[in-house]
Amino acid sequence: MSRRVVYLALVGMFAFLPACHNNQGAKKYFVAFSQCNNAEPYRAAQNQLMEKLFQQKGNVQLVIADAQQDNSKQIAQIETFIRQKPDLLIVAPNERAPLTEVMGRAMAAGIPVICLERDITQPNYTTFIGADNLAIGKMAGQFVVDSLNRKYGKPQGKVVEIRGLLGVEAEMERYNGAHDVLKGYSGIKIVHEAVADWLQSNARERMLEILRAQPEIDVLYGHNDPMAVGAYLAARDLGRDKQMIFIGVDGLGGPAGGIKKVEDGVLAATFYYPLCVDKAVEIGEQIVQDPNFHPDKQYILKPELITSENASQMYQKLTF
């Protein structure tokens, strides 16, 4: 193979680029979405919903950049977006402090910025649309209390908690929220806490050890649905899955999501942590269409409890 062939191949590879970059025809709005990490199921669901909603609008060209959980990468991607001057920039920041400055630069360049789900350290955005993990933790804590009340007639029992990646805000708030509620009941003991970094496989392994160590468990609280499912798998292996209930967080739709697990009877409950995307699309559309529209500085969306009672209805709503 000669060098010329390689040159040609390289140039040919770039030749498809303009095809990806189509803005002819009627006025199309260019919306750029900087997503912190496509690899998380919650983020993937956000992307899917956003693509679906903007596609329905018809006049929007949406581009999603994946920062692969890397602050520097996300900053670089936003810098590129600033050069492209989108009509709207939506950012789901990987972390607070690192993204604050570059989002300020986008604002300074006159681009409306929606900050999605995670707040930043200075209000460098047009509007912030988020949800409340502390509230989810509290709802989970209350659900534990209620189920133990039903089981024993009083708030007592043994709880195992499987935690997400330590130091991550969602983990801390889901933990603290639940503990705020549970510490009011002296009969409820958290007999074991394990860290499984949000992963189903890790949770399954940790739970196998926990089951060996704890002869009695009433409730398993996982900081996300996959970890609760992983713990369930371990308990089922040892034939103990009927002795306890499993609760998770996130409540994503689709066949792999937590709602399906509630429908299947694997999880007793999950808590829908809002994707925030529907609100972002609604507000975003108003921002690009109407220059006089001034959104609120922030919109905080409420989590929802999903049990077997409302699971099929929520599944319909949250499956795209």
């Binding site: 060098r3 390689v6 040159y7 191949a9 390289l10 140039v11 590879m13 770039f14 680029l17 303009p18 990806c20 970059h21 496509n38 581009v63 999603i64 950049a65 994946d66 692969q68 890397d70 602050n71 520097s72 900053i75 670089a76 991607q77 810098e79 590129t80 050069r83 492209q84 001057k85 972390e95 607070r96 402090a97 690192p98 604050t100 400055e101 350290t121 200075q122 330590l166 130091g167």
Partner: protein, 347 residues
């Protein structure tokens, strides 16, 4: 290599020195041929750059060029050190975690310590401590590799793991945020995150290290060791000392990169720098440095880093899907290395 009689080896080393200055004597045309990848990528970038609303090429905007340079600076600085290590026939996998360690150290010293001294001194000491930590990891690598004769891949793989644990332990698994106010950590972030400082650091360090490699005895020793370690040993070169220095320097540069990382991200992050070592190695190799050691240059590494930066930029400016971007980059890396090699052969 080990079977060759020592006398013959000695003869080749002695014959070598003329080659060290080849960079200066070689005609310009062969230089161009060696680094053909960069002009090619630039042409492609120009051809496929989207247009800004005012009609110019976005790729050529001053802001975009400085974006690219700023974005490649951290990996760029690391890859300068990596060049020296690879030239000795070694490798350093620990640089990504050294960056994380140093960013964590500088951020925690600035935010968690009561300094009773003026801000400028406190900042200098914190930065110094972070860089020193990088040097210490490098010295550890170098000493174990050179004195205990364990393969560099294994040693630096071990330090990569250990240093990550150290960084996470020091910070109790949390990120240490630096504010945006007027307090000392904010002053630090403001001072060291400017484009001029970041890009300037990269440029100055590149020039210094290029001179170090081509115009000093240390540079010659580096090449000689990578070219033929046995021969260098018989020729009486200070192999252990040279290797330890190379790893220490790589640690220093990774540490400094970590300081810039903390300032730019307003955060010390024990989980930062994942796979940075691989990006740095890719830049060095694209720049024509052989993984077997002995041949290569700082100029090549800078070109390699630029190629990676320009590719990333032009793919993103065109909104190429992320997964496609990774696949395209893989193809381009292989093609670039192959073209560099061809260029070298025909030069």
């Amino acid at each position: 290599m080990a079977d060759t009689p020592p006398e013959a080896l000695k003869a080749t080393t002695i014959a070598k020195p003329t080659r060290y200055f080849a960079l200066l004597h070689r005609p310009l045309k062969s230089h161009l041929k060696r680094f053909v990848g960069l002009p090619l990528i630039l042409l492609v970038a120009l051809a496929f750059s989207p247009h800004s609303p005012r009609g110019g090429l976005i790729f050529l905007e001053f802001g975009n060029i400085t974006d690219i340079l700023r974005q490649i600076s951290e990996i760029g600085i690391i890859s300068l050190g990596m060049t020296f290590v690879i030239l000795t026939g070694g490798i350093d996998l620990s640089v990504g975690t050294v960056l994380a360690l140093s960013s964590s150290i500088v951020a925690s010293l600035l935010t968690r310590t009561q300094w009773g001294v003026p801000a400028s001194i406190a900042i200098s000491l914190s930065v110094g401590a972070a860089v020193l930590a990088g040097v210490m990891v490098g010295v550890t690598n170098g000493v174990v590799i050179a004195r205990w004769r364990i393969q560099p891949f294994i040693v630096t793989l071990a330090t990569m793991i250990g240093v990550r644990g150290l960084a996470r332990g020091l910070t109790s698994n949390t990120n240490i945020d630096i504010g945006f106010g007027t307090d000392m950590p904010s002053v630090f972030a403001g001072a060291l995150s400017g484009r001029a400082v970041v890009i300037g650091s990269y440029v100055v360090l590149s020039i210094l290290l290029a001179l170090l490699l081509s115009n000093t005895i240390f540079g010659r020793h580096i090449r000689a060791i990578g070219d033929n370690e046995k021969a260098a040993q018989y020729a009486g070169l200070p192999i252990a000392k040279t290797k330890i220095l190379a790893y220490a320097m790589t640690g220093l540069l990774a540490g400094y990169s970590g300081v810039l990382h903390a300032a730019q991200n307003h955060q010390g992050n024990p989980n930062a720098g994942v796979a940075y070592e691989l990006e740095a190695i890719a830049a060095v190799v694209i720049g024509g440095t052989s993984l077997m050691g002995g041949s290569g240059s700082i100029l090549g590494t800078v070109v390699g880093t630029l190629i990676m930066g320009v590719i990333t930029n032009i793919l993103r400016l065109n909104n190429v899907d992320n997964n496609l971007e990774m696949i395209a980059k893989a193809a381009i890396i292989i093609a670039a290395v192959w073209l560099q090699q061809k260029g070298k052969e025909s030069a």
